[in-house]
Amino acid sequence: MDLTLKIWRQKNATSKGKFVTYKVNGISPNSSFLEMMDILNESLVVKGEDPVAFDHDCREGICGACSMYINGRPHGPDKAITTCQLHMRRFKDGDTIVIEPWRARPFPVLKDLIVDRTAFDKIIQAGGYISVNTGGIPDANAIPIPRANAELSMDAAACIGCGACVAACKNASAMLFVSAKVSQFERLPEGKPEAAERGQATVAEIDRLGFGN
């Protein structure tokens, strides 16, 4: 496949960015989106140009590092997958693809497609946990938990913290991220004692950090 890429380039947090157009040729439809980016970067390095910086790590869709805004959607055209799981067979030969970083005030751009998401860590630090220390815990089967509750808790707990919800929202709201954590614990007896405080503390933190609503 031959493709035209319009990629956001920005030297660092303080400089102004702009779109730069690149061509990549002979891409296999079986390669992943990030492998296509690797091929572009390899060619840029050979030419002595600065490769496009982007966050990525596990490339299995679970670590939440990758974060590209592709043709106007976080993680591209497919539903419920990350950029690293997107494959080039979803595009057509000759397509033009526009690639941007997450755009949200609490996620400042650090370079090219890399943004700073420490705001998400701060939300969890504000109260997104159950206050237990290591050790001295009763047997794991001491409190039975209805299977349905455990499953609903797991549905919420599966959030990978990538920030796509914030990027997708015009107001850069982090409500989905917070509600996932709050409802994971709300469904479990262990999480009940602090449920109200947890909700208040994390919501106060998203306001403080400048997320929208």
């Binding site: 992943s32 596990c58 490339r59 497919d78 998401r117 860590d121 946990y129 290591t134 707990a157």
Partner: protein, 646 residues
């Protein structure tokens, strides 16, 4: 040869850890506040250790190269975590978990460490449930279990196919709570470049701020490395792209011994390689072997037609399929340990029965399980894995069998540590995959999560106090000491040297070439001639790298090419040590298969007379060969046998 003191407590196996805890030195609460500990890495081992130490009152600094501690590669572990709860009433016990682990490791791990691991396994499950980890449950509300390779009981706890994610988020939440309380200072996007020794003790680290490029110094009374494994030396592996060996390799070069570097786990169920552009391999959880049956065509002609696309696997009749694991290992069948399953797959493919367009794949077939249990049950158990497979391969595994092939997944080797998890550098600890201690020559499934959390929650917080109790009069260290200045200059010089090569070939191209050498000669099957060749080739490649690597950008900015170059430079040294270690181990054990040493049936043939030891390698200089030290393994409590999964 240096005398290695493993500090194993005296007494009966089941009493060692209890006795140790009863008699070890502790630090009182007022003194804990005055003691600093650096933890490098925020995976299961690092995050659980940092959180637990901070809860006790120590002042902790925790570093990771990722943008958030929650992204450490433990997050990608799928299948589960073992514990000896015996909730299924199927005959499990601490002893049996210990025994399975020792046997699974092919009698190349320490009895005392492994017993302790099994002993604390139950507390891990309690801990995680209290943190709000939503493990799978039965309808009655109690915890569910599944089976894993190398065991005849169901002792694996799981949270769908995302167990690592849920356990890591549990440890991350405990860590976040301590950050809020001010007991942990978190340094994300910071990569450790070296460890600083003052008067022979580990007293700090040098790191690079990956955003500004600044080289920084941090001091502490003790340093804990929880930086994971080094499977990326093979370029293609199931590790995260950033997983690297730099922290443990620099520790090695400062005097920490490296234990069994050649012990690498090749995981049997990964998605096969599909092209030269490929950047990493994806694991399909071992839990799939609970319900999937592994086979290749019985007839070479059928395999040939499948490779050419003229025949579909679903067209092969039952009697024309070779379920080779069930055939060779009737007792364990598809649930043999990973090393056995991987070698069996390689054997069939090498013999010409492989499938897929490359011939380097075997089938993992769920049709029987779907017929028996229904699609819904299979979907509930493995839905996310099937979806991931379909995204990558573009085939529906509910309708056509999955294709799998072995891939590098885990490194049992790592920094040599004693019973207290301390390396040969006083005050420097290694926990989780970064150490060598618990898995011998092969790790069983669902035991990596167990070990990471055991070390971090329940072992290190005790053992480190035995060292720190002696340090309470030592004031906080200044990073102005000449040792810090000098180590920082050395780290910065190395980066400058890399930037100044200004050659023609990219970092990735060198990494790929190293990976080819490693996979070809230090991979699933090894032999003397190949290993000798690898040692020469790696040295040549290393020389070429330092003459011709091309790194764009500058030092004082985000520069992924420079980050990769530093890591690959270390892999180019570590790879050679792995080959040397594999060469002196004239036997086959666990994941280490030397083609010269096998039984007539093709099983691993150990040499317990001469090789029942841990190879602990010592750095002697950049231009001299490393020195081999040996820690003899005494099996006091189990009878050493040839592994038998038939």
């Amino acid at each position: 040869m240096t005398e290695l003191n493993s500090k194993i407590p005296k007494g009966q196996l089941a009493e060692k850890w209890t006795n140790y805890k009863a008699h070890t030195n502790l630090v009182n609460p007022a003194n804990k506040r005055r003691l600093d500990v650096i933890v490098v890495g925020t995976g299961l081992a690092g995050a659980s250790a940092a959180a637990s130490l901070a809860e006790l009152g120590f002042k902790v600094k925790n570093f990771c190269y990722q943008d958030s501690p929650r992204r450490a590669h433990s997050i990608a572990a799928q299948g589960g975590i073992n514990a000896a709860k015996n909730y299924q009433n199927d005959g499990d016990s601490v002893y049996r978990l210990f025994y399975d682990t020792i046997k699974g490791g092919d009698y190349r791990a320490r009895e005392a460490n492994v017993y302790r691991l099994a002993e604390v396994s139950n507390a891990i499950i309690d801990q995680c449930v209290a943190q709000g980890v939503p493990f799978a449950r039965e309808y009655g509300g109690l915890l569910d279990n599944r089976s894993f390779g190398g065991a005849q009981v169901s002792r694996t706890f799981y949270a769908r196919g995302q167990t690592g994610q849920q356990l890591l988020l549990g440890a991350y939440s405990a860590l976040s709570r301590q950050v809020k309380k001010g007991n942990v200072e978190l340094y994300t996007r910071h990569e450790m470049l070296d460890v600083v020794l003052v008067e022979g003790r580990a007293r700090g680290i040098i790191v690079r701020d990956m955003v500004t490029g600044a080289i920084e110094r941090y001091a502490a009374h003790a340093v804990v490395l929880a930086t994971g494994g080094y499977g990326n030396v093979f370029f293609l592996s199931t590790n995260a792209m950033g997983s690297n060996a730099t922290a443990i390799w620099k520790a090695f070069k400062r005097g920490a011994f490296f234990g069994n570097p050649s012990f690498t786990q090749i995981h049997p169920t990964c998605i096969p390689v599909h092209g030269d552009f490929q950047s990493k391999l994806t694991l399909m959880s071992e839990s799939l072997r609970n319900d999937g049956r592994i086979w290749v065509p019985k007839n070479k002609e059928d395999a040939e037609k499948i490779r050419q696309g003229k025949l579909q696997p679903t067209q092969i009749k039952e009697e024309d399929r070779d379920y080779y694991l069930e055939r060779r290992y009737p007792a364990f069948g598809n649930l043999v340990p990973r090393d056995v399953a991987s070698r069996a797959a390689k054997e069939r493919c090498d013999a010409g029965y492989g499938v897929g367009d490359t011939g380097l794949a075997v089938y993992l077939d769920f049709s029987d399980a779907i017929n028996r249990l229904g699609k819904n049950v299979i979907e509930a158990r493995y839905g996310n894995l099937f979806q991931m497979y379909e995204k990558i391969v573009d085939e529906n595994p509910y309708e056509t069998p999955m294709m799998i092939y072995p891939a590098v997944h885990y490194t049992m080797g790592g920094l040599w540590v004693d019973y207290e998890l301390m390396t040969t550098i006083p005050g420097l600890y290694a926990i989780g995959e970064a150490n060598f201690s618990d898995h011998g020559a092969n790790r069983l499934g669902a035991s990596a999560l167990m070990q990471g959390l055991a070390d971090g929650y329940f072992v290190l917080p005790y053992t480190i106090q035995n060292y720190l109790s002696d340090q309470i009069r030592v004031p906080k260290f200044s990073t102005d000491l000449p040792e810090f200045k000098q180590t920082e200059e050395e780290a910065a010089d190395r980066l400058r040297k890399l930037m100044e090569v200004k050659g023609k070939q990219t970092v990735d191209s060198f990494h790929k070439r190293l990976g080819h050498i490693m996979w070809e000669y230090v991979g699933m099957g090894r032999n003397e001639a190949g290993l000798k060749k690898a040692i020469v080739e790696i040295a040549k490649l290393r020389e070429e790298f330092w003459k011709d690597v091309k790194i764009t950008g500058g030092m004082n900015e985000i520069n992924p090419e420079l980050e990769k170059a530093g890591r690959v430079a270390d892999f180019l040294e570590l790879g050679e040590l792995m080959a040397r270690d594999a060469l002196i181990r004239n036997e086959s054990c666990g994941g280490h298969f030397r083609e010269e040493y096998q039984t007539p049936e093709g099983e691993a043939l150990r040499d317990d007379q001469n090789l029942m030891y841990v190879a602990a390698w010592e750095f002697t200089g950049d231009n001299t060969e490393p020195r081999l030290n040996k820690e003899a393994l005494d099996y006091e409590f189990v009878e050493v046998k040839q592994r038998n999964y038939k």
